[in-house]
């Protein structure tokens, strides 16, 4: 790692820490900085409710933001390299549509199918399990196809087709769903970072770490894949095996994140591009940790904006990510007159 990268990483890491604290200290309720730190250090705080807000609302939310930003960014990076397509993202493979289908079946389908689905809906983990199952099943279907079809572009298109099918089923279910069920489904679609308790977060974190480990294992094959599949093969890379690991890593990351927080737009597609613009490299040894840091930073900033500090209102996180993020990427691409890919 050259010196320039070291400085960039240091700067990014510091920014992440700074954003983390800014995110925790900003919110609808203005809490003095001293109270924020006292809450974190678990010492006496003037108001009990401040401590609850800091420890049980803002802190899990900030951690969730880092997980979501980094996880979606990394899965986007993996997909873009695997498919050698700058438009690929965790959502393109049908992962998020699979999750949406699972959630739609549980929320909207409980009226249509009753029985088991309805009881799943009642349970606390209903939506998370359904979303994970949905994304896993769609991914499994894509994987089965990928064993038969050698062309990665074809897999990309098949992923898109799966997304269309699931969208169609979701609209049929929406038509028959009641107003309250529809409302609930729409709310899920807004995305949410602040709804996880510490115990939820623990499980979330475990799956996330597994996904990160799987992607770290794929760094070498990712760099080789950049040279093209045939060349990678000639270098002795087991394409099928690496493809499987990469897809599993993506589904672990994107699937769980979508399950826990709802579909978060933009991040998965844009963070890798943003990172490449800043670091000007396609080496995954650099890109992967950089995407991790930048994803976390962007998500924390988006969340701080969505909370509209010092006002009683809040905006859906999903709207902010695209609204704030997309123009930044457009500006960067126009300024640099092209993308690094």
């Amino acid at each position: 790692m050259s010196k320039t990268y070291t400085y960039s990483f240091l700067a990014l890491a510091l920014t992440l820490v700074l954003c983390f604290f800014v995110n925790i200290s900003l919110g609808s309720v203005s809490i003095p900085l001293k109270a924020v730190f006292n809450s974190l250090l678990n010492s006496n705080v003037e108001q009990q409710s401040w401590q609850h807000i800091i420890l049980n609302y803002r802190l899990p939310k900030a951690i969730t933001a880092i997980i979501v930003g980094s996880g979606l960014g990394i899965s986007g990076l993996l997909m873009q390299t695997l498919f050698r397509n700058p438009l690929a993202g965790p959502f393109v493979l049908g992962i998020s549509s699979g999750a949406s289908l699972g959630v739609a079946l549980v929320i909207l389908g409980s009226g249509v199918f009753g029985g088991v689905l309805a009881s799943l809906f009642v349970s606390k983990w209903g939506i998370v399990i359904a979303a994970s199952l949905g994304s896993f099943l769609v991914l499994l279907a894509v994987l089965m196809v990928s064993i038969r079809v050698r062309d990665t572009m074809a897999i990309l298109i098949i992923g898109l087709m799966f997304a269309s099918i699931t969208a169609a089923i979701v609209s049929v279910l929406s038509y028959f769903g009641s107003a309250e069920q529809l409302q609930q489904y729409v709310f899920w679609g807004f995305g949410s970072l602040g709804n996880l308790s510490w115990s939820d977060l623990t499980i979330f974190l475990i799956i996330y770490v597994l996904g990160i480990l799987a992607s770290l294992c794929s760094i070498k094959s990712l760099n080789t894949l950049l040279l093209g599949e045939n060349y990678a093969k000639s270098l002795g890379l087991n394409i099928k095996k690496s493809r499987l690991i990469i897809i599993i890593a993506t589904s672990l990351l994107a699937g769980t994140i979508t399950a826990f927080t709802g579909p978060i737009a933009f991040i998965g597609l844009a963070i890798p591009h943003l990172t490449r613009q800043i670091f000007n490299t396609s080496n995954h040894k650099i890109l992967l940790p950089a995407v991790f840091l930048l994803g976390g930073i962007v998500m924390l900033v988006c969340d701080s904006i969505a909370q509209l500090p010092n006002s009683d209102y809040t905006l859906p996180i999903n709207a902010i990510t695209a609204l704030i993020g997309a123009p930044v990427v457009i500006w960067l691409l126009v300024r640099k007159r092209g993308m690094v890919f």
Partner: protein, 380 residues
């Protein structure tokens, strides 16, 4: 021949005399009645008006949906069965289709529920009088309000469809109107006070030539409401109230100008967002709701969560409120009809007196000791 001529002569004279007589009478009638056009008195409702012109009545719907700029004017006449021009409706209505469960109580209170022939979403109907007619197939299912099954509706050929719109765009209702079936938009839900909403029973009263009945039913409801309000007025202890619930990161709760807030004011309670203004519900951040309402005495209508467990499952933060710890949460969601329709959604708008009494009973248990909660139940 002369006899024949004579007969013809006499009959034509008679004919002209008769014509003259009737036309004169008609003219005279219409001129006098134009002067005595009476406007039916409405005490609270602003969204519609009825004028009685003797031979016919006019019905104006001024706000069929929020911020509507068009006023709909209908001529209601006792012409019998032959259908007149587009905006003329023959009275009384013998076959009606309504599109919202909130329209049903008026039909039932006026005793004309047998005229209902179709409804979109019959499973939401809870009324004990109307339910058996759905089950026996007398009332046909029309699908969904936004996509009414036009074929079934045309086959039913009702005299009138009472629709409602959120912005005037409802293609299926347009189609029905083009087919010659009159559609009137009911704007009861746009009204700004509980009693104004209830007063829309007079809208149904005029359709069925039952203005007097509608009037006395409304007066009864109004008296009950005002008496209950008076009863609560002298109470010194005003419990603090939290309302609504969080979906994802956003807490939805009624603003201070909503009818829900007015009911809470009339029940002499301290609704914590009483001072907020605006249309639609408030959408607040968890933090601000928590800071303000963590010690609220009572939590009302936590959205559609039907048990304490579900409320806690939806967000662990919900369990941190004092009202949750004390199990002081009341919902209308668990009072349902035979097929699961929430009774409050159907009847609540027509019977604000019952809603107010429920709130008084919950917030001031020492009052209305003989009264049993009608819509609300404690969340278990």
């Amino acid at each position: 021949m002369s006899l024949l001529l004579q007969k013809k002569y006499v009959s034509s004279i008679l004919f002209f005399v008769l014509i003259g007589f009737f036309s004169c009478k008609k003219e005279k009638e219409s001129t006098t009645e134009a002067f005595v056009a009476k406007e039916v008195k409405l005490k609270y409702a602003k969204g519609f008006s009825i004028k009685d012109l003797g031979m016919y009545k006019t019905l104006e719907i001024k706000s069929p949906w929020p911020n509507a700029e068009t006023t709909f004017k209908y001529v209601l006449a006792n012409y019998g069965d032959d259908r007149q021009a587009d905006n003329t409706i023959s009275l009384p209505i013998k076959k009606i289709v309504v599109t919202s469960t909130t329209h049903l109580p008026a039909l039932e209170l006026l005793g004309v529920e047998q005229t209902l022939v179709g409804f979109p979403g019959t499973k939401y109907i809870s009324s004990e009088k109307i339910r058996p007619r759905v089950d026996s197939g007398t009332i046909r299912e029309l699908g969904k309000n936004e996509g009414i099954n036009t074929e079934v509706l045309l086959e039913l050929n009702p005299d009138l469809v009472v629709g409602f719109g959120i912005d005037g765009n409802n293609r299926s209702l347009d189609l029905i109107e083009r087919a010659g079936i009159p559609v009137i938009f009911n704007g009861d839900w746009v009204e700004e006070s509980p009693l104004a909403k209830a007063e829309w029973i007079k809208f149904f009263g005029v359709l069925f030539n039952k203005e007097k009945e509608a009037d006395s039913i409304f007066n009864r409801i109004e008296t009950e409401y005002l008496n209950a309000k008076k009863l609560a007025k002298n109470v010194k202890n005003r419990p603090t109230i939290l309302s609504g619930a969080m979906h994802n990161d956003i807490w939805y709760l009624p603003n201070g100008t909503s009818t829900e807030a007015q009911l809470l004011r009339d029940a002499n309670t301290d609704y914590l967002w009483n001072d907020s203004k605006g249309t639609g519900s408030l959408q607040l951040n968890f933090e601000s709701v928590f800071m303000k309402a963590q010690d609220a005495d009572i939590w009302l209508s936590p959205s559609n969560y039907s048990s304490l467990e579900k409320l806690k499952n939806a967000s662990a933060h919900n369990a941190e409120f004092k009202a949750f710890k004390n199990k002081n949460i009341y919902t209308t969601n668990n009072t349902t009809g035979a097929t699961g329709g929430v009774l409050y959604f159907e009847l609540g708008m027509s019977r604000p007196d019952l809603v107010l009494k429920d709130l008084i009973k919950i917030c001031h248990p020492e009052l209305l000791t003989d009264y049993n909660l009608f819509f609300f139940k404690p969340l278990e």
